[in-house]
């Protein structure tokens, strides 16, 4: 629409990241460096992912849902998990608590994702005269993605960093992590396999992200209790 609309959409897309950083104790412990490192790891991961996608995936002429290709895409999507693992375990952070580490990593991760995937379309599209709801929905999608990223980082830190966790919870943690990691494939299936419209898909994403966040939060507190 106009520059005004662009700013509105940008606020919706990137605002929550800033708010999350400033509102939580992350800002007090100065974890910006961690977030930036995580973002850089995300960049590297995205590059590897692109190379893999370009090598192994056929370019589909139509927008149909091809299960085999989608499976491959989901497998390649797990490179994200590897990247997140690297960011959580291998990066030498200043001594910040695990509690803040995963949040910082998830935040950097989600922010880099938003910048990479959403900034350019927003700049090109939302400034145009024609009004569409697409960019606002995209902003909401970025919100859902933030929640999902932090959830995944939380689950990842539970999996890889915490040693003494209750045995009974381990399968649940892995299952949840699997679900969260395959979310991009699920939404892609909903959009193209089921032919859902964008508003419906975004609604679904928001809903599942909240549910997954709640579950991971519960898991996190459950794991924290015995250690405390």
């Amino acid at each position: 629409m106009t520059l005004f609309h662009f700013f509105n959409c940008a606020i919706l897309t990137f605002g929550p990241h800033a708010v999350y950083y400033s509102a939580t104790p992350l800002s007090e412990y100065d974890t910006l460096g961690t977030s930036i490192k995580a973002a850089l790891v995300y960049l590297g991961t995205a590059l590897v992912k692109l190379v893999c996608l370009a090598t192994f995936l056929k370019v589909s002429e139509n927008d149909n849902f091809d299960p085999y290709q989608e499976l491959l895409k989901a497998l390649i999507g797990f490179i994200d998990v590897a990247g997140l693992y690297f960011a959580l375990t291998q990066l030498t952070h200043r001594n910040i608590s695990q509690n803040h580490k995963f949040q910082a990593v998830g935040l950097g991760w989600a922010f880099a994702d938003s910048v990479l995937h959403r900034l350019a379309p927003l700049w090109v599209g939302a400034r145009g005269l024609e009004f569409t709801w697409d960019y606002l929905l995209q902003g909401l999608e970025a919100n859902a993605n933030l929640v999902l990223s932090i959830s995944l980082a939380a689950l990842g830190s539970l999996m890889w960093l915490r040693k003494n966790k209750p045995k009974t919870l381990i399968p649940i943690i892995y299952a949840c992590a699997g679900i969260v990691a395959t979310m991009p494939s699920i939404t892609s299936y909903l959009r193209r396999g089921m032919g859902w419209q964008l508003p419906k898909v975004v609604g679904f994403e928001l809903f599942t992200s909240l549910v997954m966040a709640f579950i991971s939060w519960q898991l996190f507190t459950a794991c924290q209790r015995p250690s405390a």
């Binding site: 629409m1 106009t2 005004f4 609309h5 700013f7 509105n8 606020i11 919706l12 605002g15 929550p16 708010v19 999350y20 400033s22 509102a23 939580t24 104790p25 350019a120 700049w123 090109v124 599209g125 400034r127 145009g128 005269l129 024609e130 009004f131 606002l136």
Partner: protein, 561 residues
């Protein structure tokens, strides 16, 4: 450390310049994601000896409105969409003649006027009504100066949907403005520029007659002339099927018929036939004037007479021969008698109209008057009973294929060819059909039809036809096929006319929302972020922290005080 810092700064500087470059590149990305793009045709813009006429602007960037606007609304920033079927001519006249401000005008023509929409004749019942409205509209627009862009477009589903939406909005009493949203029309063209020295192209073709042995005298010549260019409210839509596409088609068919006769030495007549396709017809036959001037004296004197063909495509049973010499003149009498004889046989009437030339008047209403001014006997065959005014009956918006009857053209061809042949072969007064149906010399209706269809799809406003326009070349080639010798003459259109370009454009139709919506959205987003912030602070640090966030500044003030 001291060494590292400048290097870092250098790096940062280069980063910034890179970033700036990226942003500049991104900002240059063309924003053309409009919901609908429609081809539009601009109202002509021209000057007559410095006096401006037509639409004086081309760029458009305004909200859309319809005729259902609330009374007293300010339309100076509104493009009024007017479909032809509900055109209220008094509204347009009022706005145009009182010079009331408008953002622009967009006339929606019915789809049947589309150039490539051949001869399908649906919606005949409202043709007549549409005809009157369109003639009046065109006259009004062409002869007034309009200080805003005026465009014509063809109706289609997309633009009809837009129009319905706009009407709905207007009906609720909310004219489209920046604060209420609606549709925005954008025509991103540059300002129109003057067409520098517009050229007009005349094409002539000779059919040489058979000279008797030892005859030193030049053979007499008969000229058949038709002007082929047009003028109308929308230059890109001025195809002029009747004026003067019909004359051009008739001329080509006559040339074809006589080329058949002249290709055989036995049937070659003792007359040269000169075919002339002239340009500049709407501008006092400027092309004809230049063409005749380029002849040398002897050639001009050898012309026995000239027949000009003008608008012969939609008549029922009466044609007119317009002359400027008195009817008692022997040549005129001879021509008229020849034509009436043939017309009687074919079952229609030919009338004679005499209009004296006023040499001091620059207006040349008929093409034959250019001949008469040079003392060459000439007559114009036309369906029009009276001389048209300047820039009228020159092939405007209305003059499309739907209103032209090809049988009328065929009958006209028969009349001219037959009477000419009788004159050439000396069969005057005898009832001999030279171009009888079903003979090898019969008129070919499909030839007439195909040329008429081509002419009805080709806008031919002379200033916008380049020297080597494909259409001009096609005319030249066709005439070359039928005649012995073809010459093309390029001249500069002189006189008082100046034309401006950008006759065609595309209109981008955007659906826009209002600034109010943007403000509201900003409010909603702001409160969303504030709520999110409070929620996060409360859950991670507790309510007290949130409250202390707001308390801290005053406490600081107290300290500093």
């Amino acid at each position: 450390m001291a060494q590292r810092k400048p290097r870092e700064r250098d790096m940062l500087d280069s980063m910034y310049s890179m970033l700036a470059l990226v942003f500049i590149l991104v900002a240059c990305v063309e924003l053309c994601d409009a919901a609908t793009v429609v081809d539009v045709y601009r109202l002509i813009q021209y000057d007559i000896s410095g006096v401006p006429f037509g639409s004086r602007f081309a760029t458009l960037n305004h909200h859309a409105g319809s005729l259902h606007f609330p009374s007293g609304a300010d339309l100076s920033r509104t493009v009024v969409m007017i479909p032809l079927r509900e055109l209220n001519i008094t509204f347009v006249r009022e706005y145009v003649s009182r010079k009331q401000p408008l953002g622009g005008l967009l006339f929606l023509l019915p789809e049947m006027f589309k150039l490539d929409n051949g001869g399908s004749s649906k919606g005949i019942q409202d043709k007549q009504m549409m005809k009157n409205v369109l003639v009046e509209l065109e006259r009004l627009l062409v002869h007034s100066k309009i200080p805003y862009p005026v465009y014509f477009a063809f109706e289609n589903d997309e633009i009809d949907a837009v129009l319905d939406d706009v009407k709905k909005n207007d009906a609720t009493g909310q004219p489209a403005t920046a604060t209420t949203g609606g549709f925005k029309f954008v025509v991103p063209t540059s300002e129109p520029k003057k067409v520098a020295s517009p050229t007009i192209t005349n094409i002539q073709g000779w059919l040489q007659g058979l000279k008797a042995d030892g005859d030193a005298n030049q053979l007499p010549t008969i000229a058949i002339v038709a002007s082929y260019d047009t003028f109308g409210a929308a230059p890109a839509l001025s195809v002029g099927s009747d004026s003067n596409g019909s004359g051009v088609v008739a001329l080509l068919e006559i040339a074809r018929l006589f080329s058949l006769l002249y290709s055989n030495p036995k049937t070659r007549g003792r007359y040269n036939i000169l075919f002339g396709l002239t340009s500049g017809g709407p501008y006092n036959y400027n092309g004809t004037h230049k063409w005749l001037r380029s002849f040398d004296q002897r050639l001009r004197e050898s012309i026995d007479y000239a027949i000009c063909l003008n608008s012969i495509g939609s008549w029922d049973n009466e044609l007119w021969i317009h002359v400027s010499k008195p009817p008692e003149n022997t040549y005129i009498k001879q021509i008229f008698e020849g034509f009436t004889n043939v017309a009687d046989e074919l079952g229609f009437k030919v009338g004679l109209k005499h209009k004296k030339i006023n040499i001091s008047n620059p207006r040349v209403a008929w093409e034959h008057e250019q001949f008469s001014r040079l003392r060459v006997t000439a007559a114009t065959l036309s369906e029009l009973s009276a001389a048209p005014e300047l820039l009228e009956s020159t092939g405007g918006l209305l003059d499309s294929r739907h209103f032209v009857d090809e049988t009328a053209i065929i009958r006209s061809v028969k009349l001219v060819a037959e009477s000419l042949a009788r004159h050439i072969y000396g069969y005057e007064g005898k009832n001999i059909q030279i171009f009888a149906d079903n003979s090898s010399l019969a008129i070919n209706p499909s030839y007439v039809r195909s040329w008429l269809d081509l002419l009805s799809q080709t806008p031919r406003v002379a200033p916008f036809l380049s020297k080597n326009d494909p259409f001009v070349l096609a005319l030249k080639k066709e005439l070359a096929d039928h005649t012995d010798e073809v010459n093309v003459q390029h001249e500069v259109l002189d006189g008082m006319f100046t034309f401006y370009d950008s006759t065609k454009a595309s209109i981008n139709i955007y659906q826009v929302l209002s600034v109010t919506f943007d403000l509201l959205l900003l409010l909603v987003l702001g409160s969303y972020l504030i709520v999110l912030f409070s929620f996060l602070v409360i859950t991670t640090r507790g309510l007290d922290d949130l409250i202390s966030l707001f308390r801290r500044p005053p406490s600081r003030k107290v300290k500093t005080a």
